[in-house]
Symmetry: C2
């Protein structure tokens, strides 16, 4: 396991691939995980093409987990539990799992401007309920626009509320600083993820009403420097 590697499960999707591009560009080794190995490899090729010299590989989700201590879950909400169950044998206390999912009502065939209720309180807490004991779960990156992540020449201009236990929370806040325009904000305990996940549905509605397909972001005002 490379201590600097970042594994992104569902890294073939828009938002996951966007993060992969940004972290690769910041010089971090990136592992793209997918249920389908060929798609993971194709996405890794795409990163390599966009970021010359990128240290990136594409693997099956479970193999990706074994490669790095940071595992970002970037799968549609309805695949969250299945993905965690499929990789949990490979998760250890050395891992920090980052939940960026949002329980959008698209999971049940309804619209993306609405959420469904999650028994555990949030997607992040659902993930926390499924990982083996000792694995730490952090919530982050929900509200970062995939489009803006992929425009590598531009800063992303979004605050990232990071929630979870203090030590991995600080670790993920530091990851945010690798991406120009992202700022990690201390979101406190994991249960706060429910509020952050809700903002995503709100932003999707704002993007439609204001016709901003690139994605509207969030900044907090009045934070100390």
């Amino acid at each position: 396991m490379n201590p600097n590697a970042i594994a992104i499960l569902g890294g073939t999707g828009d938002q996951g691939l966007g993060l992969a591009l940004r972290f690769a560009r910041a010089g971090r080794p990136v592992v793209i995980g997918s249920r389908k190995l060929d798609r993971a490899r194709a996405a890794a090729d795409e990163v390599r093409a966009a970021v010359p010299g990128a240290e990136v590989e594409g693997l099956d989700n479970a193999d990706a987990v074994a490669k790095g201590p940071i595992v970002i879950l970037s799968v549609p909400f309805e695949h969250t539990a299945g993905t965690v169950k499929a990789v949990k044998e490979r998760l250890t206390a050395a891992h920090v799992v980052v939940s960026m999912g949002v329980p959008l009502a698209t999971a049940i065939g309804d619209g993306a401007v609405r959420t469904v209720g999650v028994w555990q309180g949030s997607c992040a807490e659902l993930v926390a309920s499924l990982v083996p004991e000792g694995v730490q779960v952090v919530s982050a990156f929900q509200n970062v626009s995939a489009h803006r992540l992929r425009e590598l020449a531009q800063p992303v201009e979004c605050d990232v509320v990071v929630s979870g236990p203090p030590a991995p929370r600080k670790l993920v806040m530091a990851l945010c600083a690798l991406v120009p325009g992202l700022r990690g904000v201390d979101g406190g305990p994991l249960a706060n993820a429910r509020y952050v996940e809700g903002v995503t549905a709100l932003l999707i509605g704002l993007n439609a009403r204001y016709k901003v397909p690139e994605g509207i972001g969030v900044r907090f005002t009045g934070l100390p420097d």
Copy 2:
């Protein structure tokens, strides 16, 4: 009824009084409502002292409602239903009721960084369920810092997500523009209030963690001008 008047029920509280000061300063007639007439009058005196020439009066909540078409509900969540019930006989189709409440868990003796579930989905929808037919309800102002509202020399620096039926929503968005630093953002249908109300609990936690008693606000990035 003065068509320009803004009634603020619970206008003796920090946030309501802050809005009263700002709207009075923008030249709008303001009516401060309270369950206690003497407190309403004292708050009106406070506005008059801070804003020379302010057109402001203090009245009982029900009498305040009769004075203007815009009625802002600025009461603690646990007093929301009671306040609406106490004034509903005076509400007509000429009124727009603005819900700025948040179902903070302080209502049940728990902390302000958590919310309680509202059967109707949000405080704003609770209000909508209680007003007479034909009265329109809009959600706004939840995340505006009371402290920053009251610092009249400074802009507030916060976006206000306004949700509700289209016509009164536009009306309330225009109200935001009366306050330097506030920007009304089109938050779509009233049901979106649940996401906006959740942000308040998140901000209260951020204020504590970052030690910003003045209050952290929210801005959206990427909105068209």
